[in-house]
Symmetry: C2
DNA sequence: CGAACCTTGACACGCTTCTGCTAAGGTTCG
DNA sequence: CGAACCTTAGCAGAAGCGTGTCAAGGTTCG
C-alpha cells in the first residue's frame, strides 16, 4: 500500500490536512491525484513532509524561505544576482583597513 | 567625501531614510557610525543599496528572502539540510517510472 | 544661537502568511 | 444505501512585513 489519502498522510506526519493542501498550493509538496481527484501521498511525499517539519522546528525556517531556496535553484540568473550581492557584503571583512580609514575621516 | 548621512544616502539611492534604518535592523545593510551616533554610508553601502533595490525590482525578491540567503551562507548545517531537502524534491524527475507505477496501482 | 539635520521609539495601516473551521457537494466501500 | 472519507471555496484571526508619520530630544554648522 504505497499511496495514502490526505487524512492518512496528515496523521502519519503530524501536519493537518489543511496544511497539506496549503503546501500543495505553495508548490512545496505536490501529491499525485487519483482519477477522481483525491490527493495521493507516497513514501517520497511522506519523507518530504517529515523533513520539512524538521527544518521548521530545528532551524526556524519558514515556508516562504523554502520556496525561495527552490526558486534559487530553478532560476540561475536570480541565483547569480543574489550570490554576487552576498559576495559584495562579505568583502567587508577584507576591506577592514579601508573602513578604518573611512571612520577616521568622518569621526 | 566618502561618508554620507542617512538622508543623503536615501536621496542617492531612492530608498527612504525610514527604510535605510529598517534595512539596518534586518542586518542587510549596516552602516558605520560617527562618534555621536550618526549613520555613515560609504560607497560600499551605496552600491549595496542600489543593487538590493535592483534585485527587488527585477526579481521580486523580498527582504526576508535576502536575509535567508545570507543565513544559508553563515550556517552550513542549515544549508546542508535545505540542500538535501531540495535534492529530495528533484529526484522526482528521475523516478518518473516509479511514479507511473504508483499511479497505476492507485487509480 | 537657530535652522536643518540626526537619533530612537511608537502608532498605524494595508498586505501576506499560516492556520483553523465551515459549507456544499463528490467518492468509496462495507 | 449510508458512513466516512474526499474535493473546492470561503471566512476569520493572529502574527509579521514594508512603509509612513509623528514626537521628543541630540548634533552640526553657518
Amino acid at each position: 500500500m504505497d499511496g495514502m489519502t490526505v487524512g492518512e498522510a496528515a496523521e502519519q506526519t503530524g501536519w493537518s490536512p489543511r496544511m497539506l493542501r496549503y503546501l500543495e498550493r505553495a508548490e512545496l509538496i505536490v501529491p499525485t491525484r487519483t482519477a477522481s481527484g483525491y490527493r495521493v501521498y507516497g513514501l517520497r511525499e511522506l519523507n518530504q513532509l517529515r523533513s520539512l517539519a524538521a527544518l521548521r522546528r530545528r532551524f526556524g525556517v519558514e515556508l516562504g524561505d523554502m520556496s525561495f531556496a527552490a526558486r534559487l535553484r530553478r532560476e540561475p540568473a536570480l541565483r547569480a544576482a543574489v550570490d554576487s550581492w552576498l559576495a559584495g557584503i562579505e568583502l567587508e571583512a577584507l576591506e577592514w583597513d579601508q573602513r578604518k580609514h573611512e571612520r577616521l575621516l568622518v569621526a
